[in-house]
């Protein structure tokens, strides 16, 4: 099986589960963030703990990735300014729209047209970021400054 087919299947499982859990609905996310419902936190916590347990097992029992043969390994990094600043912007958008990238994609899939302006914004944000990266790359001194919050393309794409 190719990695593309695998990605597609994982996406379908992810999309159906997000939809069935009600995450496509802004009400469900909002009730969670307002502490009116515990569902969001239990759902998120259960997902994270399952992933954590699974990765823990993989790291010990699965030395090679099944499809690519790559070594199963990852690196983590220490928090930088950009993790706080970026997540601050992200949190404002999340709190206003009660949608994050996964739910935005399932809104599109379910044919909910409110997802369109959010998607156009999301794509714009990513394109703006790529432009900022290109500008920073053309001016290496600025990109290396400790205050820089624009990670280089390799650093941004390779780490958590």
């Amino acid at each position: 099986m190719s990695t593309k087919i695998a990605g597609l299947i994982i996406g379908i499982v992810f999309g159906v589960t997000l939809s069935w859990s009600g995450m496509t609905s802004p009400e469900v996310i909002r009730e969670g963030l307002m502490f009116q419902s515990t569902y969001l936190f239990f759902f998120f916590g259960a997902a994270m703990l399952t992933a954590m347990g699974g990765l823990f097992v993989l790291k010990r029992k699965a030395p090679r990735a099944l499809l690519t043969g790559e070594k199963v390994q990852w690196e983590t990094i220490k928090p930088e300014r950009r993790h706080v600043l970026g997540s601050l912007l992200f949190g404002i958008g999340w709190g206003l729209s009660d949608a994050c990238p996964g739910p935005i994609a399932t809104q599109l899939g379910q044919g909910i047209w409110w997802g369109i302006p959010t998607t156009v914004g999301l794509v714009t944000g990513i394109v703006v970021f790529r432009r900022m990266q290109a500008r920073a790359a053309a001016d290496p001194e600025r990109a290396r400054a400790p205050s820089s919050v624009i990670p280089s393309r390799t650093a941004a794409d390779a780490t958590a």
Partner: protein, 151 residues
């Protein structure tokens, strides 16, 4: 049946297993902003084909569509607090667009969204992801409580 919310103790672990599957099959960190980025980069750079992340995005959209078909249409009326608080569709569309920009740009700067940092990064025990997750949850909660108080 599909209109009944899946119990969290089923939905959560299935989502977590998607993270594990990405790692086990191809040693990748599952992230949805990364999926959008792959589609954008592929188009912008005229690459011959989308990568596994691009296909994952198509899968997520397709999963939403599949759900809507099986459930007989989306269970959706209005758009949450925005349609309750405002009458102007143009204003709501504007707010959603700006939110989208903040989500996209913010996630790229922070190196991940609710999936990339929140699920995958924390599961990888990444200190940066833990800080990112604490920040976006705290910000999301404050913004939600503020809008609830103001409108």
């Amino acid at each position: 049946m599909l209109h009944t919310q899946l119990p969290w103790w089923i939905g959560g672990p299935v989502l977590g297993l998607c993270v594990v599957a990405m790692r086990w099959l191809m040693n990748e960190r599952l992230g949805v902003v990364g999926a959008f980025t792959n589609v954008i980069d592929t188009v912008a750079e005229h690459r011959p084909s989308f990568g596994p992340f691009g296909f994952m995005l198509f899968g997520i959209i397709g999963g939403g569509a599949l759900f809507a078909v099986l459930a007989g249409g989306p269970d959706f009326h209005g758009y949450g607090w925005l349609t309750d608080a405002f009458d102007s569709t143009a204003l709501i569309v504007g707010i959603l667009f700006v939110s989208g920009v903040l989500i996209g740009l913010g996630a790229k700067i922070a190196g991940g969204c609710t999936a990339g940092n929140g699920l995958s990064g924390n599961a990888m025990a990444s200190p940066a992801s833990m800080v990112a997750t604490a920040t976006f949850f705290a910000t999301g909660i404050v913004v939600t409580l503020l809008t609830a108080a103001l409108f």
